[in-house]
């Protein structure tokens, strides 16, 4: 255990830093946020003043002595290079999801972490949702028997207060809803059920980034899965897992789950997981981010691996790569396309 507070820099002062990371860090006594970095200096200064962070800068390099660990919340295409630089400088890193735009980039980041002995973790916070964590325990203890199939419906109308189009460009974001909400959904599947393979993928992008997509998956035991992701619709926002002995459904934004026996009449009431003081839908985000930050900070001070290592983050990027490699169009009857312009 280390006695001094861990000094943290936040690299990238977009909405996620303001709305989630800075408030979560402000709550913790064992860390000091010492530096905010953003190429938009006005933005960095405003946030530094608001959260009483002593310093801010357009780049971290000249301030290397001021922090021990960094949270990277930059446009996705910068995740790999900035993570590598920071790890090489001996800094612990929490990089926002998706870990990187390719598994090749992930491999470089993992090697950099191994060489530096610094801790690398990926912001896959949904597996820290208490209801998801509890469901994982129940599945592992065979409550629903052997898993036969599962379905994820993950959709909210996109309203993230983005100031630029980086989230909407393939070159900067790496993709659309798949790399965004999809990274959380796929990580949740991996955490709960193990790593699946992609058997089919459909999305609605035609030269840009997808707003809606569907993924067919298969687990090593042959169980099949379906993942539906949307930036245009409010979906059920749950994962339902059916096994040989019953079914389990987790409502990840509400931190709730429901268990059903083999007979549908034997459904137990909806159960709110522990720490469920935050019930309104999206208020689960501050809770998840606090839990993930706690894990990362403990992993640094206790010198143990974090729950979401670089290797875990790479699994999600690998699935995303497989999806795009097998892409077919998601077609809608109300959107026709000229045969001559079909891709």
């Amino acid at each position: 255990m280390r006695a001094d507070p861990i000094r943290i820099a936040i690299i990238g002062c977009g909405a996620v830093s303001e709305l989630l990371h800075l408030p979560a860090l402000a709550d913790r006594a064992e860390v000091d946020t010492t530096l905010l970095v953003d190429k938009n200096e006005t933005r960095a200064r405003e946030l530094a003043e608001k959260y009483k962070v002593p310093n801010h800068a357009p780049a971290w390099n000249k301030h290397s002595e001021e922090f021990d660990a960094a949270i990277i919340a930059l446009p996705h295409f910068l995740h790999a290079s900035v993570t590598e630089e920071l790890l090489d400088a001996g800094k612990h890193v929490l990089v926002e999801k998706p870990m990187a735009l390719s598994t090749a980039e992930c491999d470089t980041m993992i090697s950099a972490a191994a060489q530096s002995k610094a801790t690398l973790t990926v912001g896959q916070m949904r597996r820290f949702c208490p209801a998801v964590a509890m469901a994982k325990t129940l599945v592992e203890r065979n409550l629903i028997g052997e898993v036969r199939n599962f379905a994820v419906h993950d959709g909210v109308v996109f309203a993230w207060p983005v100031a630029s189009d980086f989230q909407f460009r393939k070159e900067s974001a790496g993709g659309g809803v798949l790399v965004d909400a999809g990274a959380h959904a796929l990580d949740m599947v991996i955490a709960l059920l193990g790593t699946p393979e992609v058997t089919a993928y459909r999305d609605d992008a035609a030269g840009g980034v997808e707003a809606d997509c569907e993924i067919d998956l298969r687990l090593p035991n042959g169980a099949t899965g379906f993942v539906e992701l949307s930036r245009t619709r409010e979906l059920k926002n749950s994962i339902r897992i059916e096994g040989t002995l019953g079914a389990l459904e987790v409502f990840f934004y509400q931190n709730q789950f429901r268990i059903e026996g083999l007979n549908p009449q034997q459904a137990y009431p909806v159960i709110a997981a522990p720490d469920a003081e935050l019930t309104p839908d999206m208020a689960i985000w501050p809770l998840m981010i606090r839990l993930q930050l706690a894990d990362w900070i403990e992993s640094i001070s206790d010198e143990r691996p974090p729950q979401v290592s670089g290797e875990e983050g790479r699994k999600v990027v690998n699935l995303i790569e497989c999806c795009y490699a097998t892409k077919t169009p998601l077609r809608f009857p109300w959107v026709k396309q000229s045969a001559s312009l079909s891709q």
């Binding site: 996109f158 309203a159 189009d165 840009g208 980034v209 997808e210 245009t232 109300w334 000229s338 001559s340």
Partner: protein, 392 residues
């Protein structure tokens, strides 16, 4: 029209008509598109395509100039209903002036300006044509009419621009498609005269077709042109067919006069009546409502001022009996049309599209049957899982 080697600037690109226009321009016309984007958070649908997204706003002429560079055509769909009275006017009227100004500076080949049937206000029963008097009855119609006047002035000075006046535009992502379904889901919808009135509806794709024709004919034809389907439907049919995606939907007839009186009561007693309506349809809600400081205070004040009336309204024993009684008679909440929609739902004017047919070669491709089928396939897709919540 050949747009395959051209670039089109779309304002209002993140909106419902702009969004469908861009799908058509890219997937069917093979055009290059530049989109003026005010709020990137609304750009999900747009970003599916290889579109140049330019941050900007029609009220900021420099951003428009920057976006319009290299564009051959401009389609002006931008409008605002949510920026406050002055903001809405600035976007609709000043924004249109800026679009025309930039179009003239860049010498574009054509501009399509999207106006609205609302410029007519509440037209009398019978045929409605481009020659009918424009007498808007709300801010939206007045702003759009003022915008049309600006467009016409630029036209006189040589700008190739066509004005289109679409009617009730329905289809995927349309307010006029989500609204009826949402109302019918909420309760039993009251329509004037049971909705046996005229709904001049047009499927969104027909409006897009008209826009493309307008761009093509902008040099020779100024308009304005009314754009609607071949035939109107009744408002009752319009609501009922949108409600087909629901398990249960009901339209309740009421004479216009009764709805008007209801709206007058709402105007004066709105908060209290709404609270009461809610209370009598939800067990226990009344005591909760009366416990809310503002409402409790209003009720107590009203009781002091109108003791008889309020005794009748809130006496506990009577209210229990009344709740039971109303539950028997009114299994679901009654949804009254808001005053702003009353004239729309009571409309008896039938839009003629002869001018658009003759001058632009406009031929609607969609009957209401065809349009609603596509709309409902979209509605089922968007709503497929929403009704299932953790508490069901």
């Amino acid at each position: 029209m050949k747009l395959s080697n051209t670039r089109v600037l779309v304002t209002g690109a993140t909106g419902f008509i702009g969004g469908r226009l861009i799908e058509r321009l890219i997937l069917q016309e093979g055009a290059a598109v530049t989109a003026l984007v005010r709020h990137f958070k609304r750009a999900s649908r747009l970003a599916r395509f290889d579109v140049q997204m330019k941050a900007g706003d029609v009220t900021d002429i420099e951003s428009l100039r920057h976006a319009a560079k290299d564009c051959d055509y401009i389609v002006h769909c931008a409008v605002s209903f949510t920026s406050g009275s002055e903001g809405n006017r600035a976007i609709t009227v000043d924004g249109t002036r800026n679009v025309c100004q930039v179009a003239r500076e860049l010498n574009v080949k054509g501009v399509a300006h999207l106006s609205t049937v609302s410029v007519y206000g509440n037209p009398p029963a019978g045929p409605l044509t481009e020659e009918s008097p424009a007498q808007p009855s709300d801010d939206y119609g007045r702003n759009k009419l003022d915008a049309e006047k600006i467009v016409a002035d630029f036209r006189k000075e040589g700008l190739p621009v066509t004005i289109l006046r679409p009617t009730i535009v329905y289809g995927p992502w349309s307010f006029w498609s989500t609204f009826p379904a949402a109302q019918l889901e909420r309760g039993r919808v009251i329509l004037p005269n049971g909705g046996d009135t005229v709904c001049n509806a047009v499927y969104v794709d027909d409006v897009i077709t008209a826009i493309l024709l307008g761009l093509d004919k902008a040099k020779s034809h100024a308009g304005p042109y009314l754009i609607s389907a071949e035939k109107p439907v009744t408002w009752s049919e319009f609501f009922a067919r949108h409600g087909a995606i629901l398990e249960d939907s009901e339209i309740v007839p009421r004479p216009l006069s009764e709805i008007w009186s209801h709206n007058q009561r709402q105007k004066h007693w709105g908060g209290l009546i709404r609270a009461w309506d809610t209370a009598r349809h939800h067990q226990g809600a009344k005591s909760i409502l009366l416990g809310i400081p503002g409402i409790g205070h209003s009720v107590r004040t009203a009781k002091r001022l109108f003791p008889q009336k309020m005794k009748q309204l809130v006496a506990p024993e009577e209210s229990a009996a009344m709740t039971q009684e109303t539950d028997k008679i009114l299994p679901r909440e009654l949804i009254w049309p808001i005053p702003e929609h009353l004239d729309v739902f009571a409309n008896q004017a039938t839009v003629s599209i002869n001018a658009a047919k003759q001058d632009l070669g406009y031929r609607p491709d969609f009957t209401f049957e065809q349009g609603i089928e596509l709309t409902n396939s979209w509605a089922r897709w968007t709503r497929s899982l929403v009704s299932s919540t953790p508490n069901d």
